[in-house]
């Protein structure tokens, strides 16, 4: 298969839910970035992996410079197939592209990282979408070469392994993984790899904070390195988010004009009563929360700005109206927000759907991101973010942050919920003042011990899905 040669050089590792990576003001914490350079086959990747394994960070990505080999001219390409092209020269890389990806990752944004087809000596048409790493490791022979890339790194490591060992590893790797023949590899080594190392790679050792002799075998050095990184990460870790968000609200605070509440009609109050009633059957609970979801959605859609248009009626008379928003993405915050997708499906025909799974930590109840899948078109249109309940606003903050990280404009986000506290709405509006918030019910009774709405409907997801204890 032709695609065997396209090896994803980017490795995204997730070991657990991701804790908040931003502060209560909604701003992203800087991502911790490690650069790992060293000669070809010196063991950079192994060192990078060892660092990742040892760090107690749930979402980490290792980006290889192999992803950023530039496109060759037809003549260069011909030479490459004759093993006559110098891939070990600094000019073999597309630094603009590398910079774009690394800058995105450093700012916590979703990015797409190119992939390289080693059999075709050309960038593949495919790319890999990467999002959510709190630590980024950038490794490659020229990882410590470009000054702009260097300026973004928090820790710069050079792996200095004996050149005999490097050559032996390189022959083995290129034969088995990259379908080259040994003679060609040796030719290439003499002509390009060795001179490049001496001329360009070794000098970047001066840019390193730490030099690790003997690569992966040097457990003492690697251990020291990991301890240092861990200390720096610990110093950055956030205080608990939920209590902080709840505390920042004062009763005299007004919710901004971008907060909209469904009018408190008789029907809405009657539905609220049914949902709040502990004795309501599950069947009724589902029916009335679906009905209320649809009302919130219709009401919320009424807050979108639309483009005017004029049509002609069958009576041959013009009618001045509006066009529906052309590109709407509904993003549900699972589990409980998922129930609102049904209502969206019944009102917005060509909607795209994104999903985010946020789960409370069993001990602290702090939000943890477990899964995110958003359509690429999300950045260009209106986004309807949906969750059943906003209590502290911590989950909502995370969801909005994810949308922004995926290129969505704040003013295009409409956050919709069945039930909210003023504390939670205030938390969203303080962090993201241009986001519109639409709710059906507002209730201010928060229980201090577990931060649930006291007078509310209890745990929405449990009652809807029937998973109460």
């Amino acid at each position: 298969m032709a695609t065997d040669s396209i090896k994803s050089s980017t490795l995204m590792l997730r070991s657990a839910g991701r804790p908040p990576w931003y502060a209560a003001d909604g701003k992203n914490d800087p991502v911790y970035m490690v650069g790992v350079a060293g000669g070809s086959a010196s063991g950079k990747t192994s060192v990078a992996r060892r660092i990742v394994q040892a760090l107690d960070v749930p979402w980490v990505v290792i980006v290889s410079m192999d992803s950023f080999y530039r496109k060759l001219s037809p003549e260069e390409s011909k030479q490459a197939f004759l093993n006559n092209h110098d891939f070990d020269h600094p000019s073999s890389y597309d630094y603009t592209e590398a910079l774009r990806c690394v800058r995105d990752l450093k700012q916590g944004k979703a990015t797409s990282i190119p992939q390289y087809d080693f059999a075709k000596h050309a960038p593949s048409t495919e790319s890999q979408r990467v999002y959510g790493a709190s630590v980024v490791i950038f490794e490659g022979i020229f990882a410590l070469y470009d000054p702009t890339l260097l300026s973004m790194m928090d820790m710069k490591v050079f792996v200095d392994t004996d050149s005999d060992i490097c050559l032996a590893r390189r022959i083995k790797r290129d034969v088995t993984e990259r379908a080259r023949d040994p003679i060609g590899i040796l030719q290439q080594y003499d002509r390009f790899v060795k001179p490049a190392f001496d001329g360009f790679v070794r000098p970047t050792m001066n840019n390193a904070d730490v030099i690790i002799p003997r690569g992966l075998d040097n457990e003492v050095a690697i251990d020291l390195l990991i301890k240092h990184i861990q200390r720096q990460l610990d110093a950055r870790s956030q205080a608990l988010m939920r209590p902080a968000l709840v505390r920042q609200f004062r009763s005299e605070d007004d919710l901004s004009e971008l907060f909209f509440r469904v009018p408190e009609t008789n029907q809405v109050r009657a539905m609220q009563t049914i949902l709040y009633d502990a004795t309501t059957s599950r069947e009724d609970f589902i029916f009335y929360s679906d009905r209320l979801s649809r009302l919130v959605l219709e009401f919320g859609l009424g807050k979108l700005d639309l483009a005017p248009t004029t049509v002609t009626t069958p009576m041959g008379v013009p009618f001045d109206g509006y066009s529906l928003a052309p590109n709407v993405t509904g993003v549900t915050i699972l589990r409980a927000g998922g129930v609102m997708e049904k209502a969206l499906h019944s009102v917005v025909r060509p909607a795209h759907y994104g999903k985010i799974l946020i789960v409370g930590d069993p001990v602290t109840h702090e939000p943890r991101l477990h899964y995110v899948n958003l359509p690429p078109s999300i950045k260009d249109g209106q986004v309807l973010l949906m969750d059943s309940t906003i209590v502290s606003g911590a989950n909502a903050l995370m969801a909005v942050r994810i949308c922004l990280d995926h290129g969505v404009k704040q003013e295009n986000i409409l956050f919709m919920s069945l039930l909210a506290t003023p504390h939670g709405v205030h938390a969203i509006q303080s962090a993201f003042p241009k986001v519109k918030v639409v709710v059906a019910l507002l209730d201010s009774h928060i229980s201090e011990d577990n931060l649930l709405i006291k007078a509310g409907y209890g745990i929405f997801g449990d009652r809807y899905f029937g998973t109460e204890c």
Binding site: T273, D277, E298, G302, T313, P314, M315
Partner: protein, 223 residues
């Protein structure tokens, strides 16, 4: 808006849906003569659902206290009064599903009223109403209110069956100002819920700008 239309919109027994851009966009689609039928049905259904939800707000509620799952008392309200739907055939039947989606297993009566070609008057051809309709609130369903001829005839049929005038909520998508005013004057208890008030009618008594024949477009029987 014409002065007659403004007069309708301000009438205390006339309730217009909140006029959002979104509603206007829905009405734009169903008014557009180039809209294909599946879209016409989908977006009409959406407006109908909004109308039904709005209509139900004019039904009475009573105070009710419940206990939440957190063990806290909550003072709320509960629905009071029994309801039924009555659709004016054929176009009014398009609104039945919208009512059923909100009030599952609601009783629905049907009335067929057509113009008698000899007298030019709306004439009752068929009616089948729930037996206890006199004790119920009636949501009267007909998507277009033009002259009001059929709707007035239907309201008379309901009153003969014992329905109280102030227990009738007439729900439609588009009304002419003349038709709405006529109806409100003729039945001083009845309320009207509508999505939009149009400018008027042509000489054939079609609403302008209107949307053509609703029944034909909804059921796909246009030429």
């Amino acid at each position: 808006m014409s002065s007659l239309a403004a007069q309708v919109a301000e009438h205390p027994r006339f309730h217009l849906l909140p006029q959002s851009n979104q509603l206007k966009a829905l009405m734009t689609i169903i008014r557009d003569k180039n809209t294909k039928r599946s879209d016409f049905v989908f977006y009409s259904d959406r407006v109908i659902r909004l109308l039904v939800e709005e209509g139900l707000n004019y039904l009475p509620v009573v105070e009710k206290e419940v206990t939440t799952p957190m063990g806290v008392p909550f003072k709320g309200v509960s629905f009071e009064g029994r309801i039924c739907g009555v659709s004016i055939m054929r176009a009014g039947e398009s609104m039945e599903q919208g009512l059923r989606d909100v009030c599952t297993s609601v009783r629905i009566g049907k009335v067929l009223i057509q113009r008698d070609e000899r007298t030019a008057l709306p004439t009752l051809y068929y009616s089948k109403l729930p037996k206890d309709i006199a004790d119920r609130w009636v949501l009267l369903l007909d998507p277009m209110l033009a002259t009001g001829g059929s709707a007035i005839k239907c309201a008379e049929v309901l009153k003969e069956a014992g329905v109280k005038e102030d227990h009738i909520l007439f729900i439609n998508l588009i009304c002419s100002p003349e038709g709405a005013l006529h109806m409100l004057e003729k039945f001083p208890g009845l309320q009207i819920i509508s999505a939009e008030v149009d400018e008027g009618m042509d000489e054939r008594k079609f609403i302008l700008p209107g949307l053509g024949d609703f029944g034909d477009r909804y059921f796909g029987t246009e030429d």
